[in-house]
């Protein structure tokens, strides 16, 4: 299957309108980037496996409010065609396993569980990989921090980020209100419609699993800290 063929099939599987050509390939190293929901990963893995792509890496990332998995598929036989797919997990941290498709996922997923507490459903042996088997913590989570000073710095940054988000939201609210006042008759339609994404911002720490609802949420969060990761 050609790179274009992959892309058109992939477009139907990722979160709508999220599939883009990788920007700044020289610097960032990705040919294609996209966002996916946990439901789609098995179909995507099958697609890539059939097309001769290898599962290069799975990275688990803690964004403090939620956790993410970044899947990397690449042609490991010739010219690179690196796909980076970002998956945001909901509060249950659950994701279906793709270890029955890719052998390399077996340990990558165990590592994600071991380090970040990602619950991989359907994994044949989801146990600690690098840590002792009776460990009761997930070391790479951001709240695992033994350095008191660093913990304070991180808390401050987080408070600032949340405050900025709050400010942004207040601004959006004010704009909506102003819009409503200006456009008399259409105001009702706008106010009934507008609060929906605004509500989502309040629940940035508890995103729903619904990809459609997620999209406006992420756009509404101001680009302060984690906006840049995307």
């Amino acid at each position: 299957m050609t790179a274009e063929g992959i892309k058109s099939t992939l477009r139907g599987l990722v979160i709508p309108n999220s599939l883009l050509d990788g920007t700044d390939r020289e610097r960032r190293g990705f040919d294609v980037e996209g966002e996916i929901s946990p439901d789609a990963i098995v179909a995507i893995a099958k697609l890539f496996f059939g097309a001769g792509y290898g599962l290069e890496c799975i990275t688990a990332v803690d964004q403090e409010d939620f956790r993410e998995l970044w899947y990397q598929f690449n042609i490991l036989t010739g010219a690179p065609q690196r796909h980076l797919l970002r998956m945001q997990l909901d509060q249950s941290d659950q994701v279906p396993s793709i270890s029955h498709i890719y052998g390399s996922a077996r340990w990558f997923e165990r590592e994600a569980f071991d380090m970040m507490g990602v619950q991989v459903l359907g994994h044949p042996n989801l146990k600690r990989l690098l840590l002792p088997e009776d460990s009761d913590f997930y070391p790479l989570r951001r709240d695992q921090c033994i350095d008191e000073e660093l913990r304070k710095t991180r808390e401050n940054r987080r408070t600032k980020r949340l405050a900025a988000a709050e400010k942004e939201r207040a601004k959006a609210d004010a704009e909506t209100a102003a819009l409503g006042a200006a456009e008399g008759s259409r105001a009702e339609a706008t106010t009934t419609k507008a609060p929906a994404p605004v509500e989502q911002v309040t629940e940035a720490s508890a995103p729903t699993g619904d990809p459609q609802a997620d999209a406006p949420t992420q756009d509404a969060v101001p680009v302060v800290d984690k906006g840049g990761h995307r």
Partner: protein, 400 residues
């Protein structure tokens, strides 16, 4: 009661059920811990068996001498390098990468620097790039030489080990004169290298290349053509291209199975696009093929070094003052380079703060070793040691 004492008590009281086996063996695949009732038995190999090159533990289920099932248990030298990266500046992580893979330390050190430079647009002067490539290739040869010695020793030959260590010693001396350290290098820094080459470097390096070539001839006569060595490796431990694909294996292990992939050529970084070298591949996929691929690779590395010595430009070797605080640019970045064992990848997630949000090292042996679950099935116990030696694992790199 908690931890080991709780376990001991449970062990003493437990009826002999599958859970009992779990208590004895810990984190194993479920099919391994089911108490076998068919005359098969378990063998626990490692974590300090001489052939495991570090602290790898293999739990094997055997039928006579035949391996039915296998599970590598890792994590004994986990030092949380990725966690360390998150709590300091980018430059404070500089000494760590070479501790991940102590045999390819220079390549890890240079690789991390290049990952950060590429991400944040730090320019590197020409001379520094050539020096980096040259010392990396020296490092690759020294890593392969150690593998060569240890591999033959696993198979029962002691002499090549001593010869290989003498050769490796020469390379370490040479790198010592450049970098000031012998094993865990912190030579490259952001924007260049820390020290320039000493005056007598070119002469010493050329002499070393000459000697090394004659020694390779000796090794060929001593080992490659040796009947005992051939019978221990020829046709043993075949890794199929399908397994390479499924387990994302890279490096010499993949190239010995006919997968023609080398990061230096597929995604040329630094100056590799300007250099003339070949990527040796073989199609057999057995231990002998992996041996031969590594041998040819060492010769290609010598070629690269010769070109570097010939074309070494003059000029500055780095910034005037070391770059402590990197000006970051938020985003996700991935940089790969070819370590002696395969594709080393640095996944970096940066925000505007001076420390990385997340740094993930995709280490080659991690994938290569995970394939052993399949590769070792159906082999003989004596061959297990040969196969494990031939894939060349470095445990600290897997455990990180």
């Amino acid at each position: 009661m908690s931890g080991p004492s709780r376990k001991l008590a449970a062990y003493a009281e437990h009826p002999r059920t599958p859970e009992f086996a779990e208590l004895r063996f810990g984190n194993l695949e479920p099919h391994l811990i089911e108490a076998p009732d068919d005359g098969t038995y378990y063998l626990n190999m490692g974590p300090h068996h001489p052939s495991t090159h570090g602290v790898l533990r293999l739990v094997l289920r055997l039928d006579g001498e035949k391996v039915i099932d296998c599970e590598p248990v890792i994590g004994y030298s986990h030092r949380a390098h990725e966690k360390m990266a998150e709590r300091g500046l980018y430059s404070q992580f500089l000494p760590n990468p070479s501790r991940m893979d102590y045999l390819g330390g220079m390549i890890y050190n240079v690789g991390y620097c290049q990952a950060v430079e590429q991400a944040f647009g730090i320019s590197v002067p020409d001379r520094a790039r050539w020096i980096r490539t040259m010392v990396s290739e020296f490092n690759r040869i020294s890593s392969h030489l150690l593998w060569f010695g240890a591999f033959i020793m696993d198979l029962g030959g002691f002499t090549p080990f001593l010869l290989a260590f003498q050769d490796r010693e020469n390379i370490l001396d040479l790198l010592d004169s450049v970098t000031g350290s012998r094993l865990t290098y912190c030579y490259a820094n952001f924007g260049g290298v820390t020290l320039d080459l000493p005056d007598d470097f070119a002469g010493r390096a050329k002499a070393l290349i000459e000697t090394q070539r004659t020694h390779f001839e000796t090794y060929k006569k001593l080992v490659t053509d040796n009947t005992i060595f051939r019978s221990r490796t020829d046709g043993i431990g075949i890794i199929t291209p399908e397994q390479v694909h499924s387990y994302a294996m890279t490096g010499p292990c993949a190239r010995a199975s006919g997968v023609d992939y080398d990061v230096r050529r597929a995604e040329p970084y630094s100056i590799y696009s300007e250099l003339d070298f070949e990527v040796p591949t073989r199609t057999e996929g057995d231990c002998l093929a992996r041996y031969l691929v590594r041998f040819e690779e060492m010769e290609q590395s010598l070629r690269i070094i010769e070109q570097c010595l010939e074309r070494m430009p003059s000029g500055p070797i780095g910034p005037d003052r070391p770059l402590i605080r990197v000006k970051t640019k938020p985003g996700s970045y991935y940089f790969t380079c070819e370590s002696p064992r395969g594709q080393l990848g640095w996944f970096l997630l940066a925000d505007k703060n001076p420390e990385p949000w997340r740094l993930h090292a995709r280490t080659p042996s991690f994938c290569n070793l995970s394939a052993m679950i399949e590769v070792l099935k159906g082999t003989m116990i004596a061959d297990t040691i040969a196969i494990l030696g031939s894939i060349d694992v470095v445990m600290p790199e897997i455990d990180r």
